[in-house]
Subunit: 309 residues, 2 copies
Amino acid sequence: MSVDKLCEKIIERQNPSVVGLDPVLSYIPQAIKDEMRAAHQNPFEAAAQSLLAFNQAIIDEIADVVPAVKPQIAFYEMYGWQGVRAYHETVEYAKKRGLYVIGDIKRGDIGSTAEAYAIGHMGRPDLFGEARAAFDTDAVTVNPYLGSDGILPFARLCKGKKMIFVLAKTSNQSSGEYQDQVTTSGETIYQLAASNMERLGESHMGACGYSDVGIVVGATYPAMLGELRERVPHTFFLVPGYGAQGGGGADAAPAFDSRGLGAIVNSSRGIICAWQKGGSDGRDFAKAAREAAIRMREDLLGVLGGKIG
Amino acid sequence: MSVDKLCEKIIERQNPSVVGLDPVLSYIPQAIKDEMRAAHQNPFEAAAQSLLAFNQAIIDEIADVVPAVKPQIAFYEMYGWQGVRAYHETVEYAKKRGLYVIGDIKRGDIGSTAEAYAIGHMGRPDLFGEARAAFDTDAVTVNPYLGSDGILPFARLCKGKKMIFVLAKTSNQSSGEYQDQVTTSGETIYQLAASNMERLGESHMGACGYSDVGIVVGATYPAMLGELRERVPHTFFLVPGYGAQGGGGADAAPAFDSRGLGAIVNSSRGIICAWQKGGSDGRDFAKAAREAAIRMREDLLGVLGGKIG
């Protein structure tokens, strides 16, 4: 199962963290942008090439430190189809460097449309009789608002080789507006989503004790993390909200089981923008990302008693 | 306001419908695919050019019949970044032909990420000091699961020139799993979403009596359409589910006010796949789409008493 591959990489690196590759031009050192503007007349092309060069340098520096990266597709779509091409190229590059790639796409739609998304991001579209992957991520995030119609097409394409993380409790401040609503059964919407995914995961179980159907739960809500860890013991957690969003290692701790498994914690700006903290000119941006990733590993490992697996 | 522009086009064409441009290669006549495969070695490129040629021919035939088109981005993403480029080119082509373009993207994320989506799909990213639109749709669909953090960045970018449609009650069978859950206040999640959007719309009101903050409500749930029409009287409805999904003109009727305004009804496969119904070889696909669009207008106009506005 795909979740086993993820757990193996986490144990191998002794690191349950994922670096969010969420590049914005303002995060990218001037030297890269100057080079790309000189090389490409079209500003979308120059932007896309800047994102890619930035990502590749960071991936090179962190590939032996972290098990996974999570490009957030919004930051690529912002720069048009050229940006989306940079997303694709980032995914391919990270996989070549041995990283598990979680595409943070948060897609969700009615059945036939969800299937198109699933084929595009984890399957192989039929191209005149030939099946070729479009965006070949190891896992994607999925929005549950449309119900199982919108989730099953993704789950069906997992086939032991891919994984999904369905939004349960997101890390943002207003996440409670719908997710925390208590239904007539006494459960909240996020608990209901989590329970539904635990059940769906039963037919996607890995050897590690978790399934290929994971959920997203923010580090910014530690009490809910712990409560969900008990409620859905076979469901792997993708945990955003560490670092720039305010969560620390101790906040994320309730997401893990006694082996230090069961969750992977994301930091985006805390890692990729680390170079901007010291007032540097940006030449050391990739090294700064590496150092920040190592600090995050130490923080999480410390909380988990020094050993995973 | 953008909703006024949409209402003007609806009144001008006497047609409250929108054609969903959701192309899949299997919907496209063989002659187009053969031509594009001969012209482009890369199968993604050939696929993308097939989608675009198919869309352009349909747009040419329906531009004087319908006020709007709604490309569903999933069906473009399925064909990689080349498909996403075809989405962009479809949007541009439809706008040149005078159509209001609703990008069916159903994005939703935490604040900073939602802002990146909003900038990409309805704003202008900063490209080295220059602001240029990436995907310049008139309106987009938004998923509410993350709460107002995920919606406000889109609403802020409306600025009287753009519009959003936030998912309330979607047309699919399993939409009730979360949307119909009754909260402790006695409201369902979809009612809560609708009421929140009515309130958000107060600062985005158009002259037509509706705001630039619309919602999505499926034609497959006529009773809920009528109930929501009363609950949120200033909120414009995007109504999917007509045609292939099972809804008819009578099902969509409760979405409209006494002027025949307040809603726009979508049909995708019913229009763009109309040529496949008669067992034709596909040479007449665009004309078949036009005829299907005219039949849909007649169906809806009939239900609305023969006159809009």
